[in-house]
Symmetry: C2
Subunit: 336 residues, 2 copies
């Protein structure tokens, strides 16, 4: 008889996530009520923002409460439905997010799965990851043909997509990633013009070399020293979509902002924080442009799939050590 395993938040982590901060608890599979459906989760999305939700810092959504199921996006299959809009076998993104085998929900987004657009594409380029890259780059970064776009965490889920979109918009695109292997993937497979290994190169010198005309757009995922190096080289009226600051999420004390903060003034630059949910009303715009790019292979995507819900907390740490390439996903159960 199947059970529902759920990861619950027991303590707010201090610094790195430690064993005991989360606990795997078993309970009965829930029963859908009127208008509801039972979804068996197949894939769980692991994102840097999960770490923010575990903390009680001031943030853009309420933090996960102690004792609650850990929040996280999933894709699953409808097993039972009391909602006429959904049938057993439908592949959906439930709007109730959680690190768990099963969820009962009354609302979900149905996915159009085809051979060109498999389920995992919706965990990456066609999902929240792709939307984050698309709107952050285009709506805030506003890249113009011929401009230079720098992307940090370029081999990560969002960065790898953002850089490809910038190429499609006619820009010179320079990535930053944490290994030579990641850099090779970014340049040879994704078509970035260059990629800097920030662990082995002097980032400022390397950026000077690869961005001889300065930096017009910086798609920011990491913060810290890389942001400082970029700010040193921005052009007048540069735009910086601020998508993430992963280098700071595990900090257990205050982190100074960039030392070159003053260049935002000197270069009349723009920095704008954003979150993909701001753009949900514009999802049709995204689907219309990104769908064909993904189906035709003009935008490539890669998932790093680890097995087993029980491993989710350990797998999440890969994001902070740079262990993943592309979108990090945990497979909870088999595709139908």
């Amino acid at each position: 008889m199947p059970v529902n395993r759920q990861w619950k938040l027991m303590h707010r982590p201090v610094g790195d996530i430690r064993q005991g901060d989360l606990q795997l608890v078993e309970s009965a599979v829930p029963v859908p009520g009127p208008g509801q459906m039972l979804v068996r989760n197949i894939y769980l999305s692991l994102d840097p923002t999960n770490r923010i939700w575990m903390s009680d810092m001031d943030q853009y959504m309420p933090p996960v409460e102690i004792g609650d199921v850990m929040r996280g996006g999933t894709i699953g299959v409808v097993e039972k439905s009391n909602n006429p809009a959904f049938q057993p076998g439908d592949i959906v993104q439930p709007l109730d997010l959680g690190w768990q085998d099963y969820v009962v929900t009354s609302m979900a987004q149905k996915l159009m799965v085809t051979p060109d657009l498999p389920i995992l594409a919706y965990m990456s380029a066609l999902g929240m990851t792709g939307m984050t890259a698309y709107f952050g780059l285009l709506d805030i970064g506003k890249p113009k043909p011929g401009e230079t776009v720098v992307v940090s965490a370029a081999a990560g889920a969002v960065g790898s997509i953002a850089g490809q979109i910038a190429k499609l918009k006619g820009c010179r695109v320079v990535g930053l990633a944490g290994s030579d292997e990641k850099c090779r993937w970014v340049v040879e497979d994704l078509g970035f013009d260059a990629c800097i290994n920030y662990r082995t190169e002097n980032v400022l010198e390397a950026l000077k070399r690869e961005c001889p005309k300065g930096i017009d757009v910086y798609f920011e995922n990491v913060g810290g020293e890389i942001l400082d190096a970029v700010l040193t080289l921005i052009n007048l009226e540069a735009r910086i979509p601020l998508c993430g600051l992963i280098s700071t999420y595990n900090a257990d004390g205050p982190v100074p902002g960039p030392y070159m903060f003053r260049n935002i003034l000197m270069k009349r630059a723009l920095i704008k924080g954003f979150i993909v949910i701001d753009y949900f009303p514009r999802i049709a715009e995204f689907a219309a442009e990104m769908g064909p790019w993904v189906a035709s292979g003009q935008v490539k995507w890669r998932v790093d799939v680890e097995q087993g819900l029980e491993n989710a907390p350990t797998v999440l740490n890969k994001l902070f050590t740079g262990g993943n390439t592309g979108k990090l996903v945990v497979q909870i159960g088999p595709e139908p």
Copy 2:
């Protein structure tokens, strides 16, 4: 026989400006060539940005070269003219900027001086100072009625104007200034809703008290700890026109950015550096709205006039110690 005194930059200051960094040199009054005019300067504008121009940091205009006349905005009277568009007696802003008694120039902006709009108004609310406040607040800050606007250096040249414009736009306006006397002026004469003395109060606690609905717009002139306190309290989609960072200009080493930098991400806030010259093409828009406000007294302005070109470097330091209230000006010679 009159001479032309000129302040020349001899060394780039390290930290505070010291004696010997600038030198007062005398030469003959220059003679205007064809199409040129001779202007006798009356008032010299002293601005925080003067300190930036003395350094060779990366900045929005070329720095002043060693040995050159120090750059600074003036208003003067035409004494001789070989340009049919200008007559002796015209009050003008020469486009050639300098800390000097006389300048020969071929281009200047003629000012419409009236009893309601005296010469000094053009050094303040109707000049670059007013334009900086007007466009920074309205074009970047975009305040909406009922929102809370915080202004640092609220008793300074730009801040005092920015806060009054925000009041005219229907906002709750909270200033920060460095003395109880300045705060009284800001609240009682200028009509701000509140003013915090940042030298005697805990800024974060005081902002919490005065901004019970959070902060929607922050007109930033100073940087440092005040910026951190504001970032702690910003609302979702807050806007921060970045006009100046005066607390950092005299630093002789790297200055960390705000520790609450991450709140730009968490609150999806916008920061945009700007400089008034970006808005010169829109001067008519400014004059149409600000002219009547100033003439009718709806926007008040104050100048802190010190006497004598020879005192300019000493007077400039008042900006960094908070010694001035309103716009700081040096009178070089008599009004005609």
